[in-house]
């Protein structure tokens, strides 16, 4: 082989690989990508289990007295929750009765699926989590994900044992929200968030008679009208609204819960099948 051609061999090989990648079918590429993820997923899942084990042994180090004290506090908390649950059941019955009288369509019912967070991915490009449940728990793309502080995001990809959740700080997530106490739906969308900065979002189509500022922030909650999220879940705090130039609406900024960056467990809401 001539020396000059021999020197060009790496470039030739690279060119051939690129050409092959361009011409091979999309199905194959999708398969390889999915396979790659499925193959590497256990690494993350294993690390997650290792972290759980680590936390388990950390907890084991607590004294019996501490555990007894924590158990007592938990029992009290459970008692108060039991009471709240009873009240909620009664209220739900009342709501159902009123909906029946007024012939209102009832909101979608949900089944809760709790899942541990495997990985958090915050960057200028992605704002998402990987959770430790997937097709094995019948998770579906688009399902709402919540935590004790409100909305987490929506499931964007589902794999065999894991799923990816786009956080509400991501620009790919949009919700129909309402300002607490108001009934008019407005558009919430994740903002352009820096990697280590506090997360935020933007609201649009805000009615002109809604006012909010950093000093008198308003709670932004899900409207329930969009059909994905149940109503009343906290999205964040509206810290700024200003009129748009067309005079029809206002637009504004929303500060999200700082705990979104440190989530260890979330709940996926799976719509119940209508009988």
């Amino acid at each position: 082989m001539p020396k000059r051609l021999d020197q060009a061999r790496p470039f030739l090989t690279l060119g051939l690989v690129v050409a092959a990648w361009l011409i091979i079918p999309t199905v194959f590429k999708t398969f390889t990508r999915a396979s790659f993820f499925e193959l590497t997923a256990p690494v993350g899942v294993a690390a997650s289990y290792a972290r759980d084990l680590q936390e388990y042994w950390t907890l084991r180090l607590h004294s019996n007295s501490e555990l007894i004290e924590a158990g007592r506090d938990l029992a009290r908390l459970n008692a108060s929750y039991d009471l709240a649950v009873q009240q909620n059941i009664e209220m739900q019955g009342e709501i159902a009765r009123l909906e029946g009288i007024l012939r209102l369509p009832s909101y979608t019912g949900y089944h809760s699926e709790h899942a541990r967070v495997v990985r958090r991915d915050f960057s200028g490009w992605w704002q998402r989590l990987t959770i430790r449940k997937g097709k094995n728990y019948n998770l579906t793309v688009g399902a709402p994900v919540v935590f004790s502080g409100g909305v987490v995001g929506r499931v964007s990809e589902v794999f065999a044992y894991t799923a990816t959740v786009d956080l509400i700080s991501s620009q790919t997530v949009r919700l129909a929200a309402v300002v607490e106490g108001d009934t008019r739906p407005i558009s919430y969308q994740g903002g352009l968030n820096p990697t280590f900065g506090s997360a935020g979002g933007v609201i649009e189509f805000v009615p002109l008679d809604i006012f909010a500022s950093a000093n008198s922030a308003k709670r932004l909650v899900t409207s329930g009208l969009g059909g994905v999220f149940p109503p009343g879940l906290t999205i964040g705090s509206v810290i700024k609204v200003e009129p748009s130039t067309d005079g029809l609406f206002k637009s504004g900024e929303v500060k999200l819960d700082d705990r979104l960056a440190a989530l260890t467990e979330v709940t996926v809401l799976l719509p119940l099948e209508t009988p």
């Binding site: 997530v173 949009r174 129909a176 008019r184 558009s187 189509f205 994905v228 130039t245 005079g247 029809l248």
Partner: protein, 662 residues
Amino acid sequence: MAADENNLADRSGRLFESQKGYDPRVVLFYFIITALLITLASGLAYQQLFNAELHTERESSQNQRRILIPGPRGNIYDRHGLLLVGNRPRFAVVLYLDELRAKFRAEFIRIRKNYRAIDDKDIPTADQLWTLARVSVVQSYLEQINAVIGRDLKVDSVRLTTHFSRELLLPYPRVEDLAPAEYARLLEHLPVVSPLQLYTTNTREYPFGSAASQTLGYVGINEDVTAEDFPGEKLRTFKMRGSIGRDGLELKFDSLLQGEAGGSIFRVDPLGYRLRDAKPIESRLPTQGQNLVTSLDIDLQLAAEAAIGDQTGAAVAIDIKTGEILTLASKPDYDLRKFAPRLAHGAAADITAREAWTNLAIGGAFPPGSTFKILTSIAGLRRGVLDPTQPIADCQGAIRIGNRDFVCDNRRGHHGEVLLPEAIAHSCDIYFFGAGRLITADLLAEEGRRFRLHERTGIELPHETGRMVIPDPAYKEKVIGEKWFPGDTANMSIGQGYVLVTPLEMACFAASVARNEVFTQPTLLHNPDAPVQHTESIGLTPTQRAALIEGMVGTTTFGTASTLNLDLFKIPGVRIAGKTGTAQKKVTKDGKTGNINFAWFICFAPADNPEIAMAVMIEGETLGENFGGGRYAAPVAGAVLKKYFEKKNRPADQKLAPFKIE
């Protein structure tokens, strides 16, 4: 060596070959090539240096497109800041066809392949295949919408093709006027990045429906949106439809209310599709037009319209000091809400059939009847032919003027020898026939012109009629071609004959009399710091003015408008100075000819320290019907005045805080 140099075969293959020797024929080619090079260089220099701008423009027009989006119109408020006309957002789902180029092509190939596979001999033409492909792709997007909001939308292929060929870069609206719940569902279900997007437009909103409809006016579609100071005027431009004022304040103040259009300039490929992920070269957001604060008081306006009810007529209320119009009502009217987003043909035909387009307060000229007697009184007093303490006629119900008998239409005559105040209060025609004779037609007309009743008021509204007439002998000679008779003077002195005025003019006249001046400039614009208007004084002595006012107050207390003494209209502590009128006009209705009456009432209040003046005109519907001003027009004024003083005297803690206009 010499042999070598001359041998061409030997020199061939050397690094440099040379032509030795001189051939004169070559010189010719030097000149030709030099000339050609100079021509090329000159051409290049010309195109690059002198035509550079032209080429830049050509390049831009070939690969750039401009999109213009109209700005929302400004709002219209009443004098207290209540919104009369605003903008209502309309949510829509639109499809950006220019982002679907790849999908259209893929679908085109798929359909063509299918036809070829079945070996169909009637395979459509390429154009038809493209249309099929576009319809198929757009329908697939519509299915997404259908699935979310449960509709059954289908592609209109003709509309799609038209939009594709003419407005490719504009959003293609699929569903307009989405309900809030539909909008919310689409927000959560449509992908954030998709050719299918939620979009907002706006349309006019009228919180008070038909109130002041002809005064506020309406808007129509504006196909020719322009954007001042936005570059790219010579580029191919796609324009979203805007709105333009067609009548009323919307038309008169269109340039003020019109928002400033926004726009973008994009690079496109040779087929006109926007370059993928291309950011706009230029972009500007549309801005809302300026707001207009009118002098109207919506409470008084509603009171006037409710009082007129289903009758045909007009009512004008005016602030005496500033000339600001508080009420400009005209019936029949139309519901402005039917104009948003656009007026249907049926609704337009209905308005035409009801003759509701015209604002009768400014667009109709009517004989003012006995309300004109105030002008006759002023003319007589100023000329010294009327003395408030001396009777000038003995009313026995009729009088012969020329060769015709004129009767006193009010209270069936027999007023006897009345003085001016009683003559005004009881509207004695015989008294004013005498007054007219003493004043003469020319001087009476001169007085009318002094109050500017012969010309437009110049109010800020389109279509103010110019048909008002203050006649005199010269007018009759010129227009009718006949001589002026004493009977014409008699008719004129009681506001009949050829006299024609608008209700707005009569309201201004009443305001002027209240201020003891000759003219009131009406305005529909509110200025909280407006100065008091001042024009030439009427020129009455205090005694003469007192007699005039006494007569006008008598009208509403014991005279022809004593209806206002009823508890329904009585305003504690407020005396109203007014004058009724009833004029006839010969018309032909349903094949029958006869007189219809116009019931009039002009007034101001309080009589002692006037604040508000009014003119009301109600048109009778039935031929020959007795339709008096005291019975039909005065109650309308009574309702408005009552509302005015009710609002004014409302305790401070019950007053609504003025709406803040940003």
